[in-house]
Symmetry: D2
Subunit: 303 residues, 4 copies
């Protein structure tokens, strides 16, 4: 970072790649923060850049140009394929990577994808951080995301102001891959907890209790899990507008089980829950919210 | 309730049977509340009555005498056997029960015990409410218990001031037995959720993540279950001082599964979790806290 | 046993109580065997005695008369209630029991029922053996039953000729209750094996293999379980005429799991299978053959 | 196939690649059968060819030479990597493949490997059959293998005499991949059945029954699975000399579950059993026989 004449550090330049719903909200916060002398933006369809440019950002034509222009580049791509393409494709991040540059991939990708990108960045002399986030549109707009980072710790430390701008909490979890693994562990727990909750709701109804009473009792004690309050009414009404799709939840449970398998870690409760998600998928509920696993519990007698 | 000369209702008389840790705290709140013209107390070992008498209560020699003296009698006994004995034994509640009298059993007992007591009270012309509580010593002292009531709804309504004095929330759940069933449903969910949490903690450790990071990530989102914050450190340190014994939790899971069995309600996640509690019992952990189910997950490689 | 003048032992007298399908076939074999000087028979509806009397048996009016007349009395009653009534009711076995007499109950009953009868027989000075059988009508007619005996071992030894007449193999399993427990263990294994087989059949179909090919492959190796050959066609045709009702199989699995629970023995595979039987019961298949558990595996896409 | 002058078909030429324990026994049977005018053999270490050459076979230096010399080539390689190398490597089968030639791969490989080889053979104009076998050394020597074939059905028909020579039964299961899938289905069932059996043996012991009695009772009825007789003594003695390694069984269960996952087919009993194999692996039993899953059931109290 260049020193200015009067001894103060010049504000750095950052770039943001991928301006979907999440990326646009995150980049807008960086622009508005005032931490950066310039915020460079890029998106595959260039028209998404316009609102950010209007707010003060500078658009470029390729990820490589963004790397040239910025000290640190952030990416928020839709899926592993897009993340790989932006990082390793023609005109991609790695094509311009060199010592002194850094890439922070905030996309949700699997450990293998993340490792592949990280190794390519490192081979080109740059630094890399995986930093997938937890949270959706509203927390992105409000700067309330949770950031699960792993890889280069010095880069994590330097990103402090950016992460403070985009999230309410950023954790550094360890070597590359730890972010992806943490998401699997959390989603594995979440899937099994939702299974347990579904069974409680089903048993309440089958045994003549009001589901609303169960929800209230759960809310009053050590089991006051926000997810129960959030999803309980959906189960009670058997209507599941998708916030997190069942097919994605089942995929994460499968991967969490595969992780346990590779480590000889028995996970019988998660395994039992996973079978219920499979059942729900077979019932055609893959595109419903993952709380639709409740339908796998059989309501033949109640219909 | 007798009217006084000037038209105002006289304050009623209540009685409290069973002065263990919980009962003493609950009766003390009734005495201090000022809602009652007299609070009558009884305990099998009479010396437990002294502190309450010092605070203004009146001691009697048998449950039957308490019924004679009071409009409504509350009971808080240690277990089903004690509850049955106080209700149906010689000099017990039912021996003095008659129209106009009422019994509220706040002990934690099974549905069969509760039904037996309730039927005997009704046969003698009285009204009955089962009202087991959720919460331990501190909430009892602070009047923050959760009261799960079932049986006679008019009696529930009349107990409003008493329940407000002893608890932060009282729910009327339905006909006799509903209170006992609600406890089983809640504890069934809790046992499975603890199993899911144990698997997450074990998988975190096995895959090289810090358990403290998992606990923090869980605390930041929809999975911020107070139980995780409460029990997480115990798992991390593998030390399980008993708050709710594993043997009791396993018993409740068994009964919840039996309830599902009687109703043809599949509960595969609870069933898988139950096998882990059995495993933990076989490891000699029955008297540890139920979070010791974590030990059933095998830590052979880590020891 | 009375000695005759010439030093040879007189043939003993036996009795048989309960002439349903099984009992009639078993008693007929005793009559035809020539081992006994007399075979006394009794049934609640006396008309069932006629065919056996025609074959040489002697009918009596009460179980007590049968005990008076015979050295050893066999019982084969429909269920625990009938077994208890014949043993302990008015004019029942125990009312005439005394030293030198013996009762062999071949009914399928639970351990508690068997123990209750055995203790009453012993208290009256007699000897008792529980001896439930495995096998149905055809093996009973052909003398090919499997006899699972427990209780008084000297009585078991003396019953050798009778058991050889009725069964192909009689095992003495240990103290009273061991016969009932062995049936639970065997049926617990059987239920889980049928679950595993159902999953194989479902997976074969889902993955485009012929179920008939799977059946043949299984029949050729270490997995050549006769049950697979017996039940495979039922699964393939999704038609389940009852040989052993699903509701009975599920009850035995529940009891096997309860036995494991009492002994802290984890049984996760049986527990997972049990949930499938519950699911099949909820689908209305309780009165079908237990192989109808196959329907619990969901064939939504194939219908 | 060339006709001879007198109108009879000349005997064909076959080749055999891979002379391990299994391959040597299988090739020796082909040599001895008299069905072939010549049997060509190849092995990576050429010295393995000597005994077969002594018996009448002709050795060649590469798989490609074997294809040149023979009408049909059989392969029996150790693992997917070896199978791929022999088929697709330099001097491999495909390098010499052309119309009129055929390759039958009898190695145990995954569906992906088999499909890759099959597509390469077809692209070169040849015909392909996957034909993994069930059975080990002794059945190979005795010509009692079970052959699970899939792919080109005309080739399967032509291989009739060869399969009759090597096996007791050959099944044609369908399009390429069906052989690999059938092995997964069978091993998935086998793993769950062994889990159920282990639970029965553990429950018998825990409840005071003799395991030898359970084995006998199982052997007498519909549950007379040869595997129980074969593995029962190993469990009773808790000694597990490897016939089929636990680590291989667990891998096949994992793949069977992955197959079910891809097809939305719930497999809760297999999934519960799989967790026990993982537990046994964590106990260090991966190289023991798969029946060592019995150790996962906890024998803490019995040691």
């Amino acid at each position: 970072m260049t020193k200015t004449g009067d001894g103060a550090a010049a504000k750095p330049v950052v770039a943001f790649l991928g301006l979907g719903i999440m990326g646009t909200a995150m980049a807008a916060r960086l622009v508005a923060s005032g931490h950066y002398s310039k915020v460079v933006v890029w998106n595959r369809s260039a028209d998404k850049c316009a609102p950010l440019v209007a707010a003060g950002a500078a658009a470029v034509g390729t990820p490589a140009e963004a790397v040239e222009a910025a000290d640190v580049v952030f990416g928020m791509l839709a899926d592993p394929k897009a993340a790989l393409n932006v990082a390793l494709g023609e005109g991609g991040v790695v094509s311009a990577m060199r010592a002194g540059k850094a890439y922070v991939d905030m996309s949700t990708v699997d450990e293998e994808t993340s490792t592949r990108i990280g190794e390519a960045v490192a081979a080109a002399g740059g630094r890399f951080l995986e930093a997938p986030v937890s949270g959706s549109k509203k927390p992105a707009i409000d700067g309330q995301l949770i950031i699960l980072a792993a890889g280069d710790e010095s880069l994590f430390d330097e990103c402090g102001p950016a992460f403070d701008t985009m999230g309410k909490r950023a954790l550094f979890l360890g070597p590359l891959g730890a972010g992806a693994r943490m998401k699997l562990v959390v989603n594995g727990v979440m899937g099994a907890v939702m299974g347990a909750f579904s069974e409680g709701m089903a048993l309440a109804e089958a045994s003549g209790l009001r589901q609303s009473d169960l929800l209230e009792v759960l809310s009053l004690g050590a089991m006051a899990c926000p997810m129960f309050a959030l999803k309980g009414p959906a189960l009670a009404q058997r209507s599941y507008p998708p916030a997190f799709k069942l097919v994605s939840q089942q995929k994460d449970m499968r991967l969490a089980l595969a992780l346990g398998d590779a480590l000889d870690q028995p996970l019988p409760v998660m395994a039992a829950a996973n079978e219920q998600y499979k059942k729900a998928k077979a019932l055609g509920l893959g595109d419903s919210d993952f709380s639709a696993v409740y339908e796998a519990y059989g309501h033949e007698k109640k219909a």
